[in-house]
């Protein structure tokens, strides 16, 4: 997402990259060119190229594009060890394993002889590395297969040359190339040197495996590569790298975004044993992008001394222009804004006229406060800036952005900055922003020594790039027969644009396309409005972004209206979605630049048939309509995001004291072709826990511009004593021809309204304000 934003603000659009070597091959043109090959390949064990027609996808238009050069990603040692580069950051989705697994499968490598190395931040070499937006599979599954097939081709070619036979007579199987009739075989280690010296084969020379021949893809049997290290404490995260002579810094940042130091007394801090230096950091003038917030750094010999030193600082702050920001007052502003016309971002038919002429208008308004990501690993990064070079170790979702930011902050050339990517102890969008790594780089240069910047949990909660806060107001006009004839959705929410450009109070197309303008219901008159809201803190993105409040509003009002009309909530949801169809952008009055998660709409359209299917699947699996004990209820919701379709049926139980429990969830996900179903299930289980935390507890409160919450006592997380106990994930099966779509984020949005709908069905209490908090307590 970051790169899209950078593109948005570049004076001229960034080039799609000369490095991207995948051609934008249309399916038709590709198939036309392979006619002859198809016949020849009928003899081949790996099926035909037709089994894998190339399709255009959003990865090609990302800055620095997609690189599928096998020489960049794969090397083979003489002993047969296959080293595969993971260029996406690992924050728990499993991409560091799944993408190399796809390469290994397509190249017929044995997984136990594969070693994975993590790429540095270098998009000119590896292509786009920005790990967010649920993109790792949908943008890289195709290049990964191409890389694997190319390496296999080179190995077979090398063996054929050595034996002096035709390539048609050999095939790679299980880490060796065998001669079909002579029974000769050569291991990958033996062939490595000759094979890797061959030129990269052209794409149309490649043969791809038939899906039936996959060894690892789609099986869910390959475990994450870091599993043993994680369970033995050897896995390396942001704060775990040690360098000789390194210092630890803990920083006091301005409590109010845009504030700065007015007066500093560091006497007490310097008196603490182990504290070595106090350094003031420059504040930045918004829009500060991902620049550090400034403040005062305490640099010490160890972390404990640095924390104590930071806490002993006496600082008087100049709070700056946002000192008056208060959450209750701001909510009123949002409500007023959503109560009046905004900028029209979708206009279909005549919604205003239809509302005026409606027999009745059903209106509801929903609220969500700012939220912080709170990954278990608070931000931390190590920098060593010495001799005109900078070396960084950081849990970065976008390591190349960190590299560019640090080069700029230090006035260095990009090639003099190296960013090593550690494992991320959770990301959720927080670690897309490299402010913490820039802090380490700036301090290391000043100290002339390696510096680890460690954020405390309080720092993390109080200095995040917050998920937006919003009021979503929806009016539904009904005709005399109670049929919905008009839909007007007004969304008032500060935009993450404010982090990048002077704030005009309006949204980026990305935010408009996340459940606002792309609303799929079959209603003749639709108007969606972007209502003005100025930001007063650093607004960022958080797992699933604007989809969370939008799905909450849209899926809540559908259930509310169904109840009002005495209809079954699932049936009414399907009625609203309407017949299975591809949503026609133009006929729907959607914006021409409708955000489709960066994907070409023709290849990744909004298909209400798939949307309906996940609703029906989740409902059937959950036993929708069954009788439940008193105090329990089922709730249903569906949402398309990150070009995937996810429906959730939550069974909630509300105890007499108001405690909400979730004994069971059924989630149906249609995310196209699935390479690693085991990690899809883990992501969906996690999304339900993440969604329950957001629904139950998550709210950041500002008072006099400063965040009031600080740690897990007042910014609570779902815990092992009350979590979605059993999550059943139902994956809609597809072949490779159905493009892989997002998984990491789309499980979150439907969970919240499915939960609050279930709570309503259990108790009759409707939650329109998040978080639920104590609302259900007696």
């Amino acid at each position: 997402m970051l790169h899209y934003l950078n593109q948005h603000f570049s004076p001229s659009p960034l080039p799609a990259s000369g490095q991207a070597i995948i051609q934008n091959v249309s399916r038709r043109a590709f198939l036309k060119g392979t006619t002859g090959l198809v016949v020849a390949l009928q003899l081949m064990p790996f099926g035909t190229a037709e089994a894998f027609p190339a399709y255009p996808h959003g990865g090609q238009s990302m800055p620095n594009g997609v690189v599928n050069d096998p020489h960049v990603f794969v090397s083979i040692d003489a002993d047969g060890t296959v080293t595969i580069v993971a260029h996406r950051s690992e924050m728990g989705t499993g991409s560091r394993t799944s993408l190399p697994m796809i390469i290994a499968d397509e190249m017929e490598a044995n997984w136990d002889r594969v070693k994975i190395v993590q790429a540095e931040g270098d998009e000119k070499k590896y292509g786009n590395q920005d790990t967010d937006g649920s993109r790792s599979q949908r943008h890289h599954i195709q290049p990964a297969r191409e890389i694997g097939a190319a390496v296999r081709h080179m190995l077979e070619d090398a063996a054929a040359r050595e034996w002096g036979v035709s390539m048609d007579d050999v095939q790679a199987i299980g880490h060796e190339v065998v001669h079909n009739s002579l029974g000769r075989r050569l291991g990958y280690g033996h062939l490595a040197k000759a094979a890797m010296e061959l030129p990269t084969p052209a794409r149309d020379a490649l043969r791809f495996k038939d899906e039936r021949e996959f060894r690892y893809i789609g099986k869910g049997k390959i475990q994450i590569t870091d599993l043993h290290d994680i369970t033995t404490g050897k896995a390396v995260y942001g704060a775990d790298v040690r360098l000789p002579g390194m210092k630890v810094a803990v920083i006091a940042r301005p409590p109010v975004a845009g504030g700065k130091v007015k007066a500093l007394d560091s006497t007490a801090a310097m008196a603490i044993k182990g504290v070595e230096r106090i350094e003031q950091l420059d504040s930045t003038i918004p829009p500060a992008k991902f620049a550090p917030q400034g403040g005062v750094a305490v640099i010490a010999a160890n972390t404990w001394a640095a924390i104590q030193g930071r806490d002993a600082l006496k600082i008087e702050w100049d709070d700056g222009p946002h000192a008056g920001f208060s959450t209750p007052a701001y909510r009123k502003e949002l409500e007023a804004s959503a109560g009046a016309p905004g900028k029209v971002v979708r206009d279909q038919g005549d919604a205003e006229g239809a509302l005026t002429g409606a027999a009745r208008v059903f209106t509801r308004s929903y609220y969500q406060p700012h939220m912080a990501h709170a990954p278990m690993e608070p931000p931390a990064a190590l920098a060593n800036v010495v001799g005109g070079k900078a070396e960084i170790w950081a849990p970065a979702q976008s390591p190349y952005a960190v590299r560019i930011d640090i080069a700029e902050a230090l006035g260095m050339k990009e090639e003099d900055v190296t960013v090593h990517v550690t494992l991320l102890g959770g990301g959720f969008g927080r670690k897309s922003k490299g402010d913490f790594a820039t802090e380490a780089a700036v301090l290391s240069r000043r100290m002339g020594a390696p510096v680890l910047v460690q954020w405390t949990r309080e720092d993390d909660i109080r200095h995040s790039f917050y998920h937006t806060t919003s009021v979503e107001k929806i009016d539904i006009g009904l005709d005399a027969a109670n049929k919905p004839v008009a839909w007007r959705h007004r969304s008032a929410a500060p935009s993450f644009l404010s982090t990048f450009a002077p704030d005009e109070g309006h949204k980026h197309p990305i935010e408009i396309g996340m459940g606002l303008a792309d609303m799929p219901f079959d209603i003749p008159n639709v108007r969606c409005e972007d209502c003005k809201a100025l930001a007063h803190t650093r607004v960022g993105w958080y797992r699933a972004v604007s989809n969370i409040p939008r799905a909450f509003a849209v899926q809540s009002i559908v259930a509310e209206l169904a109840h009002e009309l005495g209809k079954d909530q699932k049936d009414f949801l399907l009625e609203m979605i309407g017949s299975p169809r591809i949503v026609d952008l133009k006929a729907s009055g959607m914006p021409e630049d409708l955000w489709n998660y960066g994907e070409p709409y023709e290849e990744f359209p909004n298909d209400t048939g798939r949307l309906r299917n996940v609703v029906e699947l989740a409902a059937a699996k959950a036993g929708w309509g069954k009788t439940l004990p008193e105090g329990e209820g089922l709730g249903i919701a569906v949402h398309r995001s990150f070009v995937s379709y996810v429906a959730a049926v939550v069974r909630a139980r509300v105890d007499k004291d108001g405690t909400v429990r979730v004994p069971e969830v059924h989630v149906a996900i249609d995310c196209g072709f699935v390479a690693n179903p085991e990690r899809v299930r883990s992501q969906i289980q996690g999304a339900c826990v993440f969604g329950m935390t957001a629904a139950m507890y998550s709210g950041i409160t500002f008072e006099n511009g400063a965040v009031q919450e600080s740690n897990f006592h007042d910014y609570q997380m779902v815990r092992a004593d009350n979590f979605p106990e059993v999550v059943h994930t139902h994956i809609v099966p597809h072949g490779f021809e159905t493009h892989a779509t997002g998984v990491g984020e789309p499980g979150v949005p439907p969970f919240l309204p499915a939960l609050t709908n279930a709570v309503f069905n259990a108790t009759g209490k409707r939650v329109r304000d998040l978080p639920i908090g104590d609302q259900l307590k007696a």
């Binding site: 896995a235 040690r242 690993e377 883990s682 826990v689 092992a720």
Partner: protein, 150 residues
């Protein structure tokens, strides 16, 4: 001077006796498997064993550990073959993995004290350890597996 053992090795420490065990093992001993998550005993990422009992490394000080045996994730077993570690792998528990050292140390202490916990005892015993990725369903399964072998 404080004497203690860490993962079976005798150690002496003459720094600030109030230093939390968390920072002592990470910064002084170079054992970074124990994680910092909150610093206030609210998340369990820094869980270690003190004479076999699970404690929060951010709350227990080096002085508290004087004369006692500390075990960190690095010392739970020589080769990672502790039944809890094995169960964690069999159940594919981790996502990002950051909290898992603390979860494993909590679970192993729980099972040492109560080898056959009920499901409710597992939930209660593990509720102090937050997993933001949301691996709880598998954490519970893994504790159950380590306890029963099934």
């Amino acid at each position: 001077m404080i004497s203690l053992t860490v993962n079976g090795v005798e150690r002496e420490f003459d720094g600030d006796p109030d230093t939390p065990l968390l920072w002592y093992v990470r910064d002084e001993l170079g054992l970074p498997g124990t994680k910092y998550g909150c610093g206030t005993g609210l998340c369990g990422a820094c869980t270690v064993h003190l004479d076999g009992v699970a404690v929060r490394g951010c709350q227990a000080s080096v002085a508290d550990a004087g004369g006692k045996a500390v075990v960190t994730i690095e010392g739970l077993s020589p080769d990672g073959s502790h039944p809890v570690q094995q169960a964690w792998r069999d159940q594919n528990v981790p996502q990002c993995g950051f909290c898992q050292a603390g979860q494993i140390m909590q679970a192993s202490a729980l099972l040492a004290a109560n080898p056959k916990p009920s499901d409710q005892e597992i939930l209660d015993g593990m509720q102090g350890n937050i997993c933001r990725c949301g691996c709880y369903q598998r954490i519970v399964s893994a504790v159950r597996q380590a306890s029963t072998g099934a």
